[in-house]
């Protein structure tokens, strides 16, 4: 999952995982930036390097589970060193900053460590049907995914080359990996999305899934009506100030919807990818209940796309 900071990427990641689980796919969310928010969406405390259950299977009956974990370059390196017998000293080496030195010497190593671990999860985890990776925000997402290519060019042989080659194979196989971009229907996020999409396709060679457009104000019947006329038609009386309030509120939604629709149209024109719309939720905190609403909206959107396809 990729997208500019602030577009709701973490929420959409969680919603997509829940949507997959609702269709019976046991899903693992992988978070790579150490940010807190994700677990809270499921009503849990925090993620960890080891898997944590976010949403149990069987609720409702046919749904599978959603688990989550973080993967960091430090953690992946520590595991690698431990598996190669350098356990006791690896902590000291890590705290001495060797990972920073290595990644400065060969930019991309950290990202390969993370992606390599994800590839390992994809290959070894038989219980998991789908991995949803919450990637770094926009610009970093490109370098993150480019890391494999860069390292392949820089390092011709050896275990890192094999690792980079394997990761690239995973990333560029549409049957195994897709990048889903997330945006808000606003000018700057849409601009950045278009840039990111082209970069990812051209330079990384990943396959792009549908674009999730987050935060669309839903339409309401009656929004265009004049409040006083509507009151008369309904046989109701409005108190002082209510007519103005109703009028102003309706105008605000109409205006925002127009702005949003214009941006959606721009996106359709500039980027020929299918879209999955998500509604704006009139709340400040997203929890399991809201997540289910979003998950079902995604499933409905996917069904709509499938109906269109030949």
């Amino acid at each position: 999952m990729a997208g500019k900071g602030g577009v709701g990427k973490t929420t959409v990641t969680a919603a997509l995982a829940r949507a997959a689980a609702l269709t019976g796919l046991s899903t693992l969310i992988v978070e790579v930036e150490g940010k807190a928010g994700l677990a809270t969406l499921f009503g849990r405390d925090a993620l960890d390097y080891a898997e944590v259950e976010l949403s149990p299977g069987g609720q409702p009956a046919e749904a599978a589970d959603v688990r989550g974990r973080t993967v960091t370059a430090d953690g992946a390196l520590y595991e690698y060193l431990r598996d190669h017998g350098l356990n006791r000293l690896s902590r000291r080496l890590l705290s001495s900053g060797l990972l920073d030195v290595a990644s400065t010497a060969a930019p991309g190593i950290k990202d390969i460590l993370v992606l390599g671990k994800v590839k390992q999860l994809e290959q070894n985890e038989t219980a998991t049907d789908l991995i949803v990776l919450d990637a770094p925000a926009a610009g970093h997402a490109i370098t993150f995914l480019l890391a494999a290519r860069g390292l392949l060019d820089a390092v011709r042989v050896g275990p890192i080359n094999t690792q980079a080659a394997d990761v690239l194979e995973l990333l560029t196989d549409p049957g195994r990996c897709q990048v889903v971009l997330v945006t808000l229907p606003e000018e700057t996020p849409v601009n950045e999305l278009i840039d990111t999409a082209y970069h990812l396709e051209d330079r990384v060679g990943v396959s792009l899934g549908p674009v999730v457009v987050n935060g669309l104000y839903p339409d309401i019947e009656g929004l265009d009506a004049d409040p006083d006329a509507a009151a008369t038609a309904a046989g109701a009386t409005l108190r002082a100030g209510e007519s103005e309030a109703l009028r102003a509120a309706a105008g605000f939604r109409r205006d925002r919807m127009a702005v949003q629709q214009a941006q959606v149209a721009r996106l359709v024109e500039r980027l020929p990818l299918p879209q999955l719309p998500l509604p704006f939720l009139f709340t400040t905190e997203i929890g399991p209940v809201e997540l289910d609403v979003l998950a079902r909206a995604l499933l409905a959107g996917i069904r709509d796309l499938q109906a269109v396809e030949p």
């Binding site: 930019p107 601009n191 109703l246 509120a249 702005v259």
Partner: protein, 366 residues
């Protein structure tokens, strides 16, 4: 601190008039860059000579501010105001190069470092370098005394605190603990650690090639002696941030995650006895008239199916989200009290020129 009429009605103006440095802090995607630009613009309109240091401006805004390419010196923006408005986009690498040159004992030492391939990777590869250089540029511009007000944007990040924490990564890196581990004598208690480091380097050498290892060693050797200078510099810069001449303006949106990040930031500042000077909350939903969300929702349900019912449902939606946003801000507002909380509503269009900045100004300085 007496509250006079001006302060009560436009608290941010008091900040703009008095501060020498303003830092806009918060997570990425909340409108920090735009807020920083508006603050600098208003200072110019009020007769001050101001500069805004942007980090990652959106392309159209960058164009409007004349920031087509990175340059490490500010350029002036033409406009009809009594003061002056200057702007620049931070060039992390050039700022680092300048620092190296400044701290080097000789031209030769400087050149050895600047030409080193490992060094050249640092500003791109090591996270925290951008934050360190943003602070450094802030300090430089302030010390030069060429500007009355320096407004500094902070790098977009998931963690608002990165601005304060991340610079330490660079100083630790330059402190080359790993290098010392590597070069330690292969005897006594350091032996095992040294062996492990050697093993690691051998592996790394297979990965990146022996010349890169040479580059690493050359860099740290050449850098020896300068790490103290960098550490001291970082301390001096931090002292400037902690002085009364610096005003931190926290920027957030009513969403839970940005509020939480802003709270962490405010708390951390308090630990260093620094007060947040103002809180700007962007993208607020407006309040529409009297009446509680529950009352509107009730009318909507009763009148369901009619146009009036739809209008009430709409009103109820906005009443609900507006009240939740306020509730959300209460904790943050308490945390930053007595700093004023300035609410900016959703704006029609994205801000990408001076006209847009002026539109925001009407809300910030109302």
């Amino acid at each position: 601190m007496t509250a006079d009429a001006t302060e009560a009605t436009a608290p941010l103006l008091a900040v703009i008039d008095a501060a020498e440095i303003i830092v806009t802090a918060g997570t990425g995607g909340v409108g920090k860059t735009t807020t920083a630009a508006v603050l600098a613009l208003e200072a110019a309109r009020r007769g001050r000579k101001a500069v805004v240091v942007t980090i990652d401006p959106a392309k159209r805004l960058a164009d409007a501010l004349g920031l087509e390419e990175l340059s490490n010196t500010p350029s002036q923006i033409a406009g009809d105001w009594p003061g002056e408005l200057w702007a620049m986009m931070l060039d992390t690498k050039s700022t680092f190069d300048d620092l190296v040159t400044k701290h080097s004992g000789s031209d030769e030492q400087a050149q050895r470092i600047l030409g080193n391939r490992f060094y050249r990777n640092i500003s791109g590869a090591l996270s925290g370098t951008q934050e360190y250089m943003a602070m450094e540029k802030l300090y430089e511009l302030h010390e030069e005394r060429a500007f009355e007000l320096v407004v500094v944007d902070t790098p977009p990040s998931r963690h608002a605190l990165d601005f304060l924490d991340a610079p330490r990564r660079l100083t630790h890196f330059l402190d080359h603990r790993f290098y010392r581990l590597l070069m330690a004598p292969t005897r006594g208690i350091m032996r095992a650690a040294n062996l492990a480091a050697q093993t690691f380097v051998r592996t790394l050498s297979k990965v990146v090639g022996a010349e890169v290892i040479d580059d690493i060693i050359t860099f740290f050797t050449a850098f020896q002696g300068m790490e103290e200078g960098f550490k001291e510099r970082a301390n001096v810069v931090f002292d400037t941030l902690a002085s009364p001449a610096t005003a931190f303006v926290l920027v957030a949106s009513p969403r839970r995650d940005t509020v939480v990040e802003a709270e962490y930031f405010a708390e951390r500042l308090l630990e260093s006895d620094i007060a947040v000077r103002a809180l700007v909350v962007n993208r607020m939903h407006p309040h529409f008239g009297p009446g509680s969300p529950a009352a509107s929702r009730l009318r909507a349900t009763t009148l369901e199916g009619s146009d009036l019912g739809g209008l009430y449902a709409n009103l109820a939606d906005f009443a609900l989200v507006a009240s939740k946003e306020e509730e959300h801000l209460t904790g943050l507002a308490e945390r930053v009290a007595p700093a004023p909380v300035i609410r900016v509503p959703f704006l029609r269009d994205d801000v990408h020129d001076l006209t847009g900045l002026a539109a925001i100004a009407t809300h910030l300085f109302a």
